[in-house]
Amino acid sequence: MNHDIDIKKLQVNCFRQSKVPGEFMLQMRAPGGVVQAKYLAVVQHIADTWGNGQLHLGMRQTFSIPGIKYENIEAVNEYLRGYIEEVEVASCDVNMDVNEGGYPTIGARNVMACIGNSHCIKANIDTLSLARKMEKLVFPSHYHIKMSIAGCPNDCAKATFNDFGIVGIAKMEYDYDRCIACERCVETCASHATRVLSLENGKIVKDVCCCVGCAECATVCPTGAWTRRPTKFYRVLIGGRSGKQYPRAGKIFLNWVTEEVLLAVIGNWQAFSAEVLNHQPRYLHGGHLIDMAGYEKFKEWILKGVKLNPEAEVAERLYWTETEYRSNIHVKPVCGVD
């Protein structure tokens, strides 16, 4: 078939090119990975009417609907209007003009999150409400950024492999008199976390340097001697990525920052990106953008106007450890095996 299609334009519209010429896969955003279950009917309608009947649970928690023919994209976009109004504007208070044209940009990717403390016994934060606040800050912007929110340092959300990875952490308080020295916290910290707790003189002592803020101690404490400080704290990892060249885990940029600080930092991402890219948005991993600017410059721009809370820690410098795929000399062909 003779096609003449502006692939780039469709990509920005959240339709991804298929290997079958003229077919596309729609990626529907679901900030925080949660929508009302009733929208499955919307997804199903699109998949059955215009797609090939399949739904891919997208790698970034999008609803991905493959097999949509080019000629149907206009109809799909028109149908999407209600979903975008509900999910982006009503739920996230995103400042955008919703029309029959579908998604205005693919720039900032879907903000991912684990289920968070609305359900999970490990989580320290409400990941969904944070994801929605972050969506408002980065969408709709053409500047590319990938963010994921983990409710706790278990990091089921793989915050470690995002441009910005947010991890919910807790400052712990210990009530000496309530402690019965059962050592549940000591055992749990040793097996789940950073073994910062030990028993001394019949009570618990803590090596505060290395607490990751997971709050496992509070979760297992039988007497409520360990409790979380009600203020929520966050760890911010930056520069994590997968990819064909040199994937790497993100590194800690900020530790023990409050939500106010976190949102101010995220709010600076567009200005930083615009500065580095000379106001020309293009597809580039956030980590590469930080590399281009250099960490010092990144830090200066991203913390511009941000008033750090007293507990906050900021990375002096970053020591990346990348996997250089060109240097896999330790991987050898298996010889002598039939």
């Binding site: 409400d126 008199d177 402690c179 019949g202």
Partner: protein, 350 residues
């Protein structure tokens, strides 16, 4: 006599009561619960009746007031020691009917178990007066009616919260002058007469059946379910176990405290002795001990009531969702079977 008081008027009177009493009640500690964004409801000193959480069951019991989690007995230096002291002021505690029964069980354990009354318990217990809080309908884990602990007359004051007002029965004559000019009301506390849960208690009728109860496979089911964390015994109003130790100060090892701290029969080191020998090595064995202690051993030793008062806090607090009521009902079913088998063997009908 009974009175109808607005909460703000009650606060004025509470302020006067606080001149002579230390007043404890269940209070909400926001976002201090086991899981994120959950609250903790436990006892502490109140300043206002609005501090009192009356429409929820507290996670921890009022026993903390009389049997503190950590209590120094005496302080020692190299050549001398000094006994610890407690605040001399009398104490008022807001409690439920089951809690009053629970504290009676603690009285039995600390004051009537053996020849000597425990002076550290007694010095606090003697100062305590109860303010009974009505339970309304009770809660879904309560089984006070099954345990016979739903009613009590052992209180000084009784209260029903009703929005911006409360009804207060003043039973203890020493409080009457304080309320002399208040508006009277016709009020007596109502007690829960039926719980959603009904618990059947095991009737272990012979030594032979008791031994068979020990060997029941049902205990093994707790080997994988129970974490041995002791959250149940920490929440329990009638669990009394503690461990005593000398703690030498790290700055000067020749001085320190002798203190006692709550212990739990669920903890794996509870029965460990010199040489590493222990009586109850598995979570199931420890669960068996706790269960029988609560509904058999205590009564076998002291007569009268069972140690468990059916407050259900152990069920509320178990992170593994083990229901003590369900455990008791399972056990009772097994005991029925064992009793029937024993009767069949001897030819006596039950």
């Amino acid at each position: 006599m009974a009175y109808r008081l607005s909460l703000s008027r009650m606060d004025e009177l509470l302020e006067k009561m606080r001149e002579s009493y230390t007043i404890y009640a269940p209070m909400r500690f926001e976002k201090r619960g086991r899981y994120s964004d959950t609250d903790l409801v436990r006892y502490d000193k109140i300043r206002s009746v609005r501090d009192i959480v009356y429409d929820e069951k507290s996670h921890f019991s009022p026993k903390e007031v009389i049997h503190p989690i950590t209590q120094a007995l005496f302080h020692f230096t190299e050549f001398e020691y000094r006994e610890s002291e407690v605040d001399e002021r009398p104490v008022l505690v807001f409690v439920r009917p089951c809690d009053i029964h629970g504290i009676q069980r603690l009285d039995t354990m600390f004051l009537e178990n053996g020849d000597a009354a425990d002076p550290y318990y007694k010095r606090l217990r003697d100062k305590v007066k109860f303010v009974l809080m009505e339970c309304g309908k009770g809660w879904d884990t309560c089984f006070c009616v099954s345990m016979g602990t739903n009613r009590t007359e052992d209180y000084s004051l009784a209260v029903r919260f009703a929005g911006e007002e409360l009804l207060l029965e003043v039973k203890d004559p020493s409080f009457r002058p304080l309320f002399a000019s208040e508006k009277t009301a016709d009020f007596r506390p109502e007690f829960v007469s039926a719980n959603r849960l009904t618990v059947r208690l095991p009737e272990i009728k012979s030594r032979d059946v008791l031994e068979k109860v020990h060997a029941l496979p049902l205990w093994e089911s707790y080997d994988t379910r129970c974490l041995s964390c002791g959250a149940c015994t920490a929440a329990c109003v009638s669990c009394s176990c503690f461990t005593t130790s000398d703690v030498a100060y790290s700055e000067n090892g020749r001085s320190g405290d002798r203190r006692r701290v709550w212990a739990s029969c669920l903890h794996k080191d509870f029965t460990v002795m010199a040489g590493g020998h222990g009586f109850r090595k598995t979570p199931g064995e420890r669960m068996r001990f706790r269960t029988l202690h609560k509904v058999y051993d205590f009564r076998a030793r002291f007569g009268g009531a069972d140690m468990c008062v059916g407050c259900g806090r152990c069920t509320d607090r178990c992170p593994q969702l083990i229901s003590f009521a369900a455990t008791l009902n399972r056990l009772s079913g097994e005991v029925d079977r064992l009793n029937a088998e024993a009767a069949a063997a001897t030819g006596v009908s039950v």
